[in-house]
């Protein structure tokens, strides 16, 4: 583990370096508070620091205060080292944001024991952050496909709707439904059906830009939101998505399957006062039209409804 030592006293620094290196730490040593702050602020900077109280340019408590103002980075365990022993000083150091406090001359056994406490706290923090991120992911993503779940993709669509209105931009919404997917489940079982859904999700993500949104809207229905996408390109983008699925068979445990998707598309520069529900109804009507027109095709949800591609076969295996 990396640890920062900040002390303007060369002897004290050397003593700390040797002790901590002996304990297996990767030591970064600096001689003033400003450089210490720079090091600790780096994206992969040390997560532990031993800071002398009195240092040129920025003192130990000053470094603590600055670090505690940075809320967007992992926690750093800060230990103040000083010859000051009054309760007032201890309180001031801890109030500045230090986690611990050691008086000089420090005892090596006490120092390393306290640093191990710091490591345990950091490990605990890491586990909490990991658990929070896992929970956050589970709350926002579909467990099978890892795409955004229905609630989140609808929230994102609502957000885009507001942004489009505000910026007078254009957003494209696609609602795609796998053709005859029930027959996949019925013929090959749900495990194969799940394999297909996972692969389709992967292909959908591959066919959009990193800042577009893809979500699982229902069983075999997917909602795609393309930000800042010109309405003139809506059909072409939807076609790319459709072909990305239809043109390559999906490999499953029961052999390759030919899967297709029908898509309803809505594109607009100005959605006026239409709410998400209305937009989804219009897009769903276009999807319904694509299904009625023979599946494996794209239909635009604006009059006149265009047929971009002639129908092709639905699921075959």
């Amino acid at each position: 583990m990396k640890i920062l030592i900040a002390d303007d006293d060369e002897m004290s620094r050397r003593l700390l370096e040797r002790t901590l290196e002996h304990e297996g730490y990767g030591v970064i040593s600096v001689e003033n508070g400003r450089v210490a702050l720079e090091q600790l602020s780096l994206p992969d900077g040390p997560r532990m620091a031993l800071l002398d109280w009195m240092m040129p340019e920025l003192d130990g408590p000053g470094v603590c205060q600055e670090i505690r103002r940075q809320h967007d980075r992992p926690y750093v365990h800060l230990v103040l080292l000083t010859s000051r022993v009054s309760k007032q000083d201890v309180v001031a150091g801890l109030e500045a944001g230090a986690d611990d406090y050691l008086t000089k001359p420090w005892d090596p056994a006490e120092l390393t024991a306290r640093l191990r406490v710091g490591q345990r706290i950091l490990q605990l923090e890491d586990r909490l952050v990991e658990a929070r991120e896992t929970m956050r992911f589970k709350a926002s993503h579909d467990p099978l496909t890892s795409l955004f779940n229905r609630g989140v993709i609808l929230d994102l669509l609502a957000r885009e709707l507001s942004r489009t209105r505000r910026e007078k931009g254009c957003t494209v919404v696609m609602l795609g439904d796998l053709d005859n997917f029930k027959s996949v489940n019925d013929s090959y079982g749900h495990a194969v059906g799940d394999e297909v859904l996972r692969e389709i999700a992967r292909r959908l993500l591959d066919s959009v830009r990193s800042y577009d949104f893809v979500g699982r809207y229902g069983g075999e229905e997917f909602l795609v939101v393309l930000n800042n996408c010109d309405s003139a390109q809506a059909i072409a983008r939807a076609e790319e998505v459709r072909m990305g699925i239809a043109n390559h068979q999906v490999q499953t445990m029961r052999g390759p399957l030919h899967i297709t998707m029908s898509l309803g598309v809505l594109a607009s520069r100005n959605w006026d006062r239409r709410v998400v529900e209305e937009i989804l109804i219009e897009t769903d009507l276009a999807l319904y039209k694509a299904k009625a027109d023979g599946r494996n095709c794209v239909r635009l949800a604006e009059p006149p409804v265009l047929c971009a591609v002639p129908r092709a076969d639905s699921v075959t295996s």
Binding site: E10, R14, K104, P105, D107
Partner: protein, 124 residues
């Protein structure tokens, strides 16, 4: 004036304690002594000058550094005397500052031959 114990017969550096503290790493002790001997003369002369001028801020700063350095080599009494001077500096006390400097200088003067003795022994 702050009192200091009469320790004329005791060693200025507690080598045994220092060796325990550094895990019997004599090379490190040698390295620390070299740094101290290199840096302390200038600090001592700056301290003397600051005391003469009654510059308590500077006395505090210099003595803070000296306290740390002396603690590092287990020169406990010298470190305590430097700490007293640092405290006087922090409190802006000029009265008694010169009197407090004398025993500190004496203790450092006693320390230096001990440090030389260690480095000489280390070379042999």
């Amino acid at each position: 004036m702050d009192q200091h114990p009469d320790c004329s017969t005791q060693a200025a550096m507690n080598l045994a304690e220092l060796l325990i503290r550094v895990g019997n790493d004599r090379d490190l002790v040698w390295e620390l002594i070299v740094i101290f001997k290199k840096k302390s003369p200038l600090l001592m002369s700056q301290l003397k000058e600051s005391v003469a001028l009654g510059d308590t801020n500077r006395v505090e700063t210099i003595c803070h550094v000296l306290t740390g350095m002396l603690s590092c080599i287990a020169a406990t009494r010298a470190a305590a005397l430097a700490g007293q001077l640092e405290q006087m500096g922090r409190e802006g006390r000029t009265l008694g500052l010169s009197d407090a400097l004398t025993p500190f200088e004496q203790e450092v003067a006693k320390l230096l031959p001990e440090l030389d003795g260690f480095t000489l022994e280390a070379k042999l």
